[in-house]
């Protein structure tokens, strides 16, 4: 007992003497700490704003259930489209050298820099007012004020995330794996499918998670293209917006809580996969 106390006293003394050595360290660390406290407090504030009972009730309400379902469906579909388009594009830009490569890389990043509202307006103009968009609508593919528009908006805004993660993943895989596979009877496509893509598994997972998570949270662009019709194009963020504007606080908080949980879980999974992405 006595020795433990002495030990505790000594280690405390050690800590204090170390701290005295570096006030700079303390100051910088304080900033980090304050920031972290601020973030955690905000999240806790949202989740504890109503009683657990009211929260549960809201979560089980038809409107929130609809929003959850619509968000999940649209975000999964838009993520799948992001994968389908980004895999070949990211591969090409990781592997090949061609004139205009830098410009192409920059253009593919543009949606990342664009405010989502502007992206939404641009999509609305292309698919709502041009003969191209009208032709599609006549053929039955309507984007304006439909869930399809939500998918389109999520795809356009989040594609760069998938693209960038995959591009750096492919860049990290030595092309000689494919060369060897080709000398062992594989076509270029076969080598990609059987060797490079499985090796890119972790990057693909990380990219999918972040794309999906951002899809769930997509608001501005989706609002422009699909509007905010209750029980029609009402995703979780749209639901949050609608219920906030008409004072239905418990419903708004229910949406917010789900979005927080999804974000935290996604962040955790993303860190895990991108952390292990270079194990091979």
């Amino acid at each position: 007992m006595n020795t433990i106390e002495t030990k505790g006293y000594h280690s405390a003394q050690k800590i204090f003497s170390r701290l005295r050595e570096s006030s700079f360290k303390i100051i910088t660390m304080t900033f980090g700490l304050v920031l972290a406290v601020f973030i955690v407090a905000l999240l806790i504030g949202v989740v504890t704003h109503t009683t657990p009972q009211a929260l549960l009730e809201s979560l089980l309400s038809g409107e929130i259930q609809f929003a959850i379902r619509l968000s999940l469906i649209t975000s999964v579909i838009s993520t799948i489209f992001c994968i389908i388009v980004s895999v070949p594009a990211a591969y090409a830009l990781a592997r090949y050298d061609f004139p205009g490569k830098n410009i192409l890389n920059t253009i593919l990043d543009v949606p990342l820099a664009l405010p989502p509202l502007v992206a939404g307006v641009a999509l609305l103009i292309l698919f709502g007012t041009t003969s191209f968009g009208k032709g599609l609508a006549e053929a039955g593919i309507k984007f304006v004020f439909t869930p399809l528009g939500i998918i389109l908006a999520q795809f356009f805004v989040n594609m760069p995330f998938m693209f960038r993660v995959l591009r750096s993943t492919f860049q990290g895989i030595n092309p000689r794996y494919e060369y060897v596979a080709q000398t062992l009877g594989s076509t270029e496509g076969g080598a990609f499918w059987r060797v490079t893509l499985p090796m890119a598994r972790n990057g693909l997972m990380a990219g999918s998670i972040i794309t999906w998570c951002r899809g769930i949270g997509e608001f501005g662009a989706a609002l422009m293209v699909a509007g905010s019709t209750r029980l029609q194009t009402e995703t979780l963020p749209i639901s949050l917006y609608l219920n906030m504007s008409c004072g239905e606080l418990p419903l708004a908080i229910a949406s917010a809580t789900i979005l927080i949980v999804i974000s935290l879980v996604s962040l955790f999974i993303f860190e895990k996969f991108s952390g292990f992405a270079r194990v091979f």
């Binding site: 000689r176 794996y177 060369y179 060897v180 062992l184 076509t187 194990v279």
Partner: protein
């Protein structure tokens, strides 16, 4: 037979310039050159990874210049093994057989055969990431050989290994070559490998082949300044070694050298020029090798002067400018060369 004719390829940093080469069936051919000489692109162009900007490649008189790698039946082994990390050792070895439409039984029979040949049968269910460099390289060789390639290309296959494993695997390569008589083209920057494995060798520099010939010939008679400087080892001779009382005695053209490297039979011997003492009178020392000869050539390179002395075979010795002036050496003078048995490198 592999033949490349006037192949040029520009990949920016690395390039090939008008390379022509012919490797006979069953030959073990070495390509030696410094980093950046274009050795790897040459192999990759032969394998079909790159199509050349200019020139032609033939395999057994069949034009393969535009053929994709999978249709060439040329195997490739890299320095860093390039085993597929998501597959087990067994799946790695049988990767190529998928394109061969064999029955399951034939596949597993072939895998066992190759795994036994390379001594990796006990590793079949492991993943490559958990294996040592030597084990990984054996698997990479097995994976290439299972295709029964007409030519096996080896890109510095031993460079990433520790010296003990390297020596073991070098013997293995020789054994596999004798057993399968596959044509091998092996790129290296190690003189020892070139000597011990190659029946012929080429020296590459700046994307060009500067010399082709038998290793001993190329080492003895470098045809240009680059080859001479790159090979560096000036005193290389072929001789017969006998061991007597714990000491090796190598007879070269009538000359008898003593060495502490105990190796018998047909060997190569090298002595570094700076390990040779030059004197006007016989030296009283414990060094076992002392010979008299005539100075044939003097090349003055500043602080160091290299002199060539004929003691039955031409030996090059490097001495300081100071002792060169001290002795007042001139052509045709008789001098004594003395070197220790421990400095006679036998391989």
């Amino acid at each position: 037979m592999v033949r490349v004719e006037n192949i040029s390829k520009n990949l920016g940093e690395f390039f090939l310039k008008d390379v022509s080469l012919e490797v006979a069936d069953g030959e073990y051919f070495m390509i030696l050159g410094p980093t950046g000489a274009g050795k790897t692109i040459l192999l990759e162009t032969i394998a079909g990874i790159y199509s050349p900007d200019k020139g032609k490649a033939y395999l057994n008189d069949r034009d393969i210049t535009r053929l994709p790698p999978r249709k060439r039946n040329i195997g490739m082994v890299y320095q860093d093994y390039m085993l597929f990390p998501h597959l087990t050792v067994e799946q790695n070895i049988k990767y190529g057989l998928r394109s061969r439409k064999l029955s399951k039984q034939e596949v597993s029979q072939r895998v066992d055969e190759l795994a036994n040949l390379l001594g990796v049968a006990h590793l079949l269910h492991r993943h490559p990431g958990t294996l040592s460099g030597g084990e990984q390289q054996r698997i990479a060789i097995a994976r290439a050989l299972i295709m029964e390639p007409e030519v096996l290309l080896l890109d510095e296959p031993l460079s990433a290994l520790d010296s003990e494993t390297r020596a073991k695997l070098r013997k293995e390569l020789r054994r596999i070559h004798a057993l399968t008589s596959t044509t091998m083209i092996h790129v290296t920057h190690s003189f020892d490998e070139a000597f011990l494995l190659g029946s012929r060798m080429a020296i590459m520099n700046h994307g060009e082949i500067v010399q082709v010939g038998e290793p001993s010939e190329v080492f003895r008679k470098p045809n240009c300044k680059f080859a001479a400087e790159f090979l560096g080892v000036t005193n290389v001779f072929r001789g017969e070694s006998r061991i007597d009382n714990g000491m090796a005695y190598i007879t070269i053209n009538g000359l008898r050298l003593a060495s502490t490297d105990n190796r018998e039979g047909q060997v190569y011997v090298s002595i570094r020029p700076e390990d040779i003492l030059v004197s006007l009178m016989p030296l009283e020392s414990s060094a076992r090798n002392s010979f008299q000869g005539e100075v044939q050539d003097i090349s003055d390179a500043g602080i160091i002067v290299r002199i060539t002395v004929d003691i039955g075979v031409p030996f090059v010795a490097a001495i300081t400018r100071h002792s060169f002036l001290d002795m007042g050496l001139q052509q045709r003078m008789d001098v004594f060369l003395t070197f220790k048995a421990v400095d006679v490198h036998v391989f």
